[in-house]
Amino acid sequence: MTPADQLTTGRPRPEVALTVQNLRVGFGAPSAEDAVRGVSFEVRAGECLAIVGESGSGKSVTARSILGLAGAGARVRADELTLAGESVLGLTEPAWRRRRGRDVGLVLQDALASLDPLRPIHREIGDSLRLHTRLDATERSRRVLEVLDAVGLPDPHLYAGRRSGELSGGQRQRALIAAALVLDPPLLVADEPTTALDVTVQAQVLTLLQRVRSEGTAIVLISHDLAVVSRIADRIVVMHDGRIVETGTTAEVLGNGRHSETRRMLAAVPVDKPRGARLAPATETRPAGPALVADRPAVPADPRNRATPAVPLVAPAAPPATPGAGLALEAVGLSKTFRGPHGTIHQAVDNVSFRLQRGSTLGIVGESGSGKTTTARLALALTAADAGEVRLLNEPWSTLPERDRRARRPLMGAVYQDVLASFDPRLNVREILQQAVTGPASAGRARGRRSSAARRGEAARVGSLLDEVGLASGLLERRPADLSGGQRQRVGIARALASRPQVLICDEPVSALDVSVQAQVLDLLDELQRELSLSLLFISHDLGVIQHVSDEVAVMHDGRIVETGTAAEVFTAPAHPYTRALLAAVPRLI
């Protein structure tokens, strides 16, 4: 980070940047339950308040209500809503407009979409100046360059003329922050500002926000990720179902969270949790009985059911089942290039070799564009490698013609990130699983003439698959589109297990999930691995997840594997500088 100018202009700060008292926000019919139900908090100058909660907790609606942007159909009521010392309750739209940008700035999650992709960033940033000041064009552009320089964008003169699509993820997030800071508002609302970013970039952005705060700007940081907010938040507010369930300093909340929701969230963070440790209450991983079909049943009041975070089910040091019993999957010298749109050549995977021991988990970690998904596809033999070979259970795999490989395909299952897309939209859960159970075998048989016994057998197998992944049989007739994210991923896992595979390729299987659902799925995979002696190739960008699930780890960067080793080796004594940089950037709880 360049030690640039002050981010702020030294504009005088009100003592209290924001006061919210009993905020209620409702949508739709007046009778409908409010999305935000009586939220109160206060943010002082130079303070960072984090609002944490899972999707649907009401945190984003709260954030937007602070800017009067809850939406056209929203009913916003509060006992008090004071921004920079002035009440903004019942403001007219023009009056709101005069305050937005000047008194409060907003930073959104996806900078690619949050900056107009058709306009150069200097225009986007200059808009605030145009709207709120009387600066002329030269003065405006001077200030824009100033603030771009301050947020650490290299060579502002060059980059100011570019559009968001022409910037890297980190650059455009800086530009977005610059746009919010250009008028030096006393309050910055940041709604998941680092969520889609690679871990190293995320660290840089958090550092930038820290600087902003240290110069006296108040920050309201919205996030689902406790680990992220723990780095910069002074105080944390935990929201659940539209209410604040816990509030306190960062240390208090993280160290001594009292509310079950807080504890759940803390327990679910995989980073630094030993291999085999449960992340979610056992009842949630495989809810017993048909009543538990939802991802998150109502938080049980019974204290016996309370989550017990970080308590390993088995001794953390216990080795995975039967290691060294042979190789499940082996890749030797895999390479793959792709041709770009203008004849450019992109080396996606470059001489990648790895070995997956039977019954163990190999985690492949890397940032976006590192080649991990291509590696997964090569392992699945969905793409032909330019060079190198993949062997399955010590027998040829990638070199077989597809026709011959088909018979061996049942040995390998796959779990996908976008699991919904991996289901034929025309099929319901029963049909999906049935097809998976029948597998390629039925192709040889006379169509539709399977014996009734065989059909009964299939139905039984489908039922037992559902049990294995903890889904109620009531979901059989539903379509995946009607299920929740966690349920879908469970169906995905059930399908992968249907052919009784020995190897499971998991490509970012939990990236799209809320942290507590992620915890359930990770627990489930862990249990299944144990029960079925599965070998897992687990691919993720999330070091925390990888650390938690892997026996061995391979770190990918620019198409190459830069470091391999046991999880313990790689995470405690990283050898490669890139691994070290990655690890340093990982947000941890405190």
Partner: protein
């Protein structure tokens, strides 16, 4: 890298050109052989149909004059050769070269089409901006108007407009005039259905743009609704509609067939319909060729316009005609 890109772009341009030439050649070939499938003797058609009591000598003379006595393949090659040099042949019915005829009719149609395109754009923009962000009722009214407009057949609209504006109220001429008044009804006739199509696309992308995060960002800066609309959303809304302009031109040519006939305007559409009615093959080929040429040109222009409006490198083009 930069070199590679330049070369790739040049290659793209070359492919594009080759593609255009290919399409023109194919259009010429398809048309040539299609019209040879017409039952009856082309020489008779030239002399005015089977009722015209032509003598065998006259037929022979005509066959020789138009090269119809040569083998079909030779005729085809001759035709290609002539087309390559811009010679579109002689009209059977109009007693003049097709090239100058078609070129002389092109202007009127282009003026009509371009004006209609502009007016359609304006109507679509107005309707889209009016009906977006005003709640469900306005959106449904806007969407309903667009669907109805898109379903309006040109011939019915033209007739209805003539009845109301020319016959009942007598405010606008029902035929082309030396001044611009005669353009009003034809342009409106062509523009309204087109606006229905453009508006549907425009309003949907406008809605999508207004719901996108960058608009939220702009609002969070204190941008007014009008500012949001004009500085951000409209440009995004216009993109798909710009991409449609190539198609729009084609649909306007179809419309021109009807509109030019009803409003007695000179132009390609009327020429084409006349030629089809009297089976004046060279004129049909000529009009088809020139329309294909202009259409290809329009799709290239459309692509360029799309790229200007959306300089993002990932733009996938419009696919119109390509």
């Amino acid at each position: 890298m930069a070199d590679q890109l330049t070369r790739a772009r040049l290659g793209g341009l070359g492919r594009r050109l080759a593609g255009a030439v290919f399409v023109l050649w194919a259009v010429a070939t398809v048309t040539f052989f299609a019209v040879r499938m017409i039952p009856g003797d082309p020489a008779e058609a030239i002399l005015g149909g089977p009722g015209s009591q032509t003598s065998p000598e006259a037929l022979a003379a005509v066959r020789a004059e138009y090269g119809l006595d040569q083998p079909l393949l030779l005729q085809y090659l001759h035709q290609l050769g002539r087309l390559a040099t811009g010679d579109l042949g002689q009209s059977y019915a109009l007693n003049m070269d097709v090239g100058p005829l078609v070129v002389s009719q092109l202007g009127g149609t282009l003026v009509l089409a371009l004006l209609s395109l502009t007016v359609a754009w304006l109507i679509a923009l107005l309707l889209a901006t009016w009906s977006t962000g005003r709640g469900r009722l306005a959106r449904q009214i806007g969407s309903g108007l667009e669907i109805v407009a898109a379903a309006l057949p040109h011939f019915w609209l033209a007739t209805t407009l003539i009845v109301v504006f020319s016959i009942w109220w007598g405010v606008l001429p029902p035929i082309s005039t030396a001044d611009a008044r005669g353009l009003v009804l034809p342009v409106v006739t062509l523009a309204i259905p087109l606006a229905g199509f453009l508006g549907q696309v425009m309003r949907e992308s406008l809605t999508a743009a207004l719901e996108s995060p960058f608009v939220l960002s702009a609002r969070a800066r204190g941008e007014s609704e009008r500012g949001v609309l004009w500085r951000h959303a409209l440009r995004h809304a216009a993109l798909p509609a710009i991409g449609l302009s190539g198609w729009a031109f084609g649909s306007l040519i179809s419309g021109a067939v009807v509109v030019e006939t009803i409003f007695a305007r000179p132009g390609l559409g009327r020429t084409l319909l006349n030629a089809v009615t009297v089976r004046d093959v060279p004129v049909v080929i000529g009009v088809v060729m020139i329309v294909a040429l202009v259409y290809i040109l329009m799709t290239v222009l459309t692509d360029l316009a799309s790229r200007l409006a959306d300089p993002r490198p990932t733009t996938s083009g419009t696919g119109a005609g390509a």
